[in-house]
C-alpha cells in the first residue's frame, strides 16, 4: 500500500475554473517526489489538499490509510509538516528558539524537554548559534532553515516543501536544497517538493507534472524530461542535459552510453572531430 493515495481529486476556488481537476496518483513511503508545473497549475493547491488546509470537493486523499478529513486531520498533522514559500510568513515565534518551540507547544511537549529538542534540531539545520536571533536579523535562507527545524522537531515522516526555495538568493537556495537532499537520503522520510528548479527535479525519485489542474505526466524524472516535446507543449523548460541529448539525436549521432558521463565523452569526441 502506498503512503499517500490521491484518488480522482477535484478542487475549485470558484465556479469558473477548477484548480485541481481529477488528479490521481500514489506516493510511496520514503520517496522524494517533485511536483512541477506553471503558476496556477494547481501545485500549491494540491499540497494544501494533502495537508488538509483545504477540503477536497470530491475524490479522496488518504495519508497512511487515513482519509484526510475533519476527523483525521489532527492525527495526520502529527506526521506531516509543510515548509511554505515565504520565509517571513511562517515565522511565528519572536526568536529562533521560540519559533521552533511553537509546534512543540501545540504538541503539548512538557517545557522541560523543549530545550533539548530545540538544541538538537537547531544543530541539525546549522543554526545552534542563532537561537536568540529575531527574524529581522536572519537571512531568507536562515529563516527557511528555522522553519525546517521547527517542523523536524515535531518528528514528521512526510515533509511538503511548497516552493520553499523560490524566494531565496542563490546561497539560501543551495543551503535549503542540501538540507532537503540530506533528509531525502534517509529511508523513512517522504518528501513532496513543489518546485521550479529542474536541477532539484533530477535529484528526486519521482516527478509529477501538473498542467491546468490536471495530471500531465507522472514518471521518473529522466523519463519525464526525455519526452522533451511533450514538456515543450506546455511551455516547460527542458534540462540542459536533455537539450544536449536532443542535439545529438538531431545530428543522428548515436550515444554509446546514454548517461551523463557517456554524453560528456561523446561531446568531447564530437568537438575534436569537427
Amino acid at each position: 500500500m502506498s503512503l499517500i493515495e490521491i484518488k480522482d481529486v477535484y478542487y475549485a476556488y470558484n465556479e469558473q475554473n477548477k484548480a485541481i481537476d481529477g488528479v490521481s496518483f500514489d506516493i510511496k513511503q520514503g520517496d522524494y517526489v517533485t511536483i512541477i508545473g506553471h503558476n496556477g497549475s494547481g501545485k500549491s493547491t494540491l499540497a494544501k489538499l494533502i495537508a488538509g488546509l483545504l477540503p477536497v470537493k470530491s475524490g479522496s486523499i488518504t495519508v497512511g490509510g487515513l482519509e484526510v478529513n475533519e476527523d483525521n486531520i489532527a492525527a495526520i498533522r502529527t506526521r506531516l509538516g509543510i515548509v511554505f514559500q515565504n520565509p517571513d510568513n511562517q515565522f511565528i515565534g519572536s526568536t529562533v528558539k521560540d519559533d521552533i518551540a511553537f509546534g512543540l507547544e501545540n504538541r503539548q511537549i512538557p517545557s522541560e524537554q523543549m530545550e533539548g529538542i530545540i538544541r538538537e534540531y537547531s544543530e541539525k539545520v546549522g543554526l545552534s548559534d542563532y537561537l536568540e536571533y529575531e527574524p529581522q536579523n536572519l537571512s531568507g535562507g536562515q529563516k527557511q532553515r528555522v522553519a525546517i527545524a521547527g517542523i523536524l522537531a515535531m518528528k514528521p515522516d512526510i515533509l511538503i516543501f511548497d516552493e520553499a526555495t523560490s524566494m531565496l538568493d542563490p546561497k539560501g537556495k543551495k543551503e535549503i536544497k542540501k538540507l532537503m537532499y540530506d533528509l531525502a537520503a534517509g529511508d523513512d522520510i517522504t518528501i513532496i517538493s513543489i518546485t521550479h528548479d529542474i536541477e532539484e527535479v533530477l535529484q528526486s525519485d519521482d516527478c509529477v507534472v501538473l498542467n491546468k489542474g490536471k495530471l500531465f505526466m507522472h514518471d521518473k524524472p529522466e523519463k519525464v524530461f526525455a519526452d522533451a516535446e511533450k514538456l515543450r507543449k506546455i511551455d516547460l523548460d527542458v534540462p540542459f542535459v536533455e537539450q544536449i541529448r536532443e542535439a545529438f539525436a538531431k545530428r543522428k549521432i548515436k550515444l554509446k552510453n546514454d548517461d551523463l558521463k557517456g554524453m560528456v565523452e561523446q561531446l568531447c569526441r564530437y568537438r575534436s572531430n569537427h
Binding site: 488546509l53 519572536s94 507547544e105 529581522q136
Partner: protein, 266 residues
C-alpha cells in the same frame, strides 16, 4: 520611528530585568495607585526616591526618562495655562497686568503634573526592563481569572505576541512600498494636504492588501504546525516567582499602604 522612547525595551541585564514580568506588572499597578492616592508632596518625594533607586538599578539614564516626558510637555503646559486662567482659590500669588494668578492654580497643577511624570517614569521602568514577549506572558497570566467568563486570555496573548513579532516586518514593508511608490513619482513630503492624503493612500492600500495576504499564509503555517485555537498547549517559557519577586511586590504594596495612610496624618 526609532526615537520613540516611551514603551521601548532596553535589552540589557539588570536586577530589574531579571524580575518576573508578573511581579513587575503587579508592582506597576500598586505604584500607580500609590501615586494617585496621596495629597501630600512628601509622599511624592518618597516615591520619587524609591523610583530613582529602581531606575538606577535598571541602568536607565536620566536622559531616557526626560525623553519619555517629551510627548506630554505640550499637554502639561496647556493644563497649566487653563488652570491659571480658571482657578481662583487660595492666596493670590502675583498679577500680570490686571489678571491675578492664584496659589492653587499653580500648585494644584504642579501636583497633577508631578503625578503624571511619576506615572510615566513607572511605566517606562516596566517597559524598558521587560521584553515584550514576557510582558505578554505576564498580561496573559493576569487575565487568566477572566477565563471563568470565557475570556480567551491565551488567544489574546497569542495575538499580541504575533502583532509584536510582525512590527519590524511591517515597518520594512512600509519602507519598501514607499520607495516603490516614490520611484513611480509619488511625493510623500511636499504638496497640498489633498495631495499628501492621496500619497498616503497609495501607501496604505498596498500595505493592507499585503498584510491580509500575510495573515492568511501565517494562519496556514500555524494550522499546519498543529495550532488549534482554544486547545490546550504547553508553554516553552514558564514563569516562576522567585523570592526577589515576592519582595518586590511586598515593597510596592508597602508604598501603597504608606500612601493611603498618609492621607490621615500628612
Amino acid at each position: 520611528m526609532n526615537n520613540l522612547v516611551f514603551g521601548k525595551y532596553i535589552p540589557i541585564d539588570s536586577p530589574m530585568h531579571r524580575l518576573d514580568p508578573r511581579a513587575k506588572l503587579i508592582g506597576l499597578f500598586l505604584m500607580i495607585a500609590a501615586v494617585f492616592v496621596p495629597k501630600s508632596w512628601w509622599v511624592f518625594l518618597v516615591i520619587a526616591i524609591l523610583l530613582t533607586i529602581a531606575l538606577a538599578s535598571a541602568k536607565i539614564g536620566i536622559r531616557m526618562i526626560v525623553q519619555s516626558f517629551k510627548p506630554m510637555l505640550m499637554m502639561m503646559l496647556f493644563l497649566l495655562i487653563i488652570n491659571s486662567l480658571t482657578v481662583k482659590t487660595g492666596e493670590p500669588l502675583f498679577a500680570i497686568g490686571t489678571f491675578t494668578i492664584y496659589h492653587d492654580a499653580i500648585f494644584n497643577t504642579l501636583f497633577v503634573i508631578v503625578r503624571l511624570l511619576l506615572m510615566i517614569s513607572i511605566t517606562t521602568l516596566l517597559t524598558a526592563t521587560t521584553n515584550p514577549l514576557d510582558l505578554t506572558l505576564g498580561i496573559e497570566w493576569l487575565l487568566k481569572p477572566l477565563e471563568v467568563i470565557h475570556f480567551p486570555s491565551h488567544e489574546v496573548a497569542m495575538m499580541v505576541s504575533i502583532a509584536l513579532r510582525f512590527i519590524p516586518t511591517i515597518i520594512e514593508e512600509t519602507i519598501r512600498i514607499m520607495n516603490a511608490q516614490k520611484s513611480r513619482g509619488v511625493d510623500f513630503e511636499n504638496g497640498k494636504l489633498s495631495q499628501k492624503i492621496a500619497a498616503i493612500l497609495s501607501l496604505i492600500v498596498p500595505l493592507f492588501s499585503v498584510a491580509f495576504e500575510r495573515a492568511y499564509e501565517l494562519a496556514d503555517a500555524m494550522e499546519a504546525r498543529g495550532y488549534v485555537p482554544g486547545a490546550k498547549r504547553t508553554r516553552y517559557h514558564v514563569l516562576k516567582f522567585k523570592f526577589t519577586d515576592y519582595l518586590f511586590i511586598f515593597i510596592c504594596g508597602l508604598v501603597l499602604a504608606f500612601s493611603i495612610a498618609s492621607r490621615s496624618f500628612l
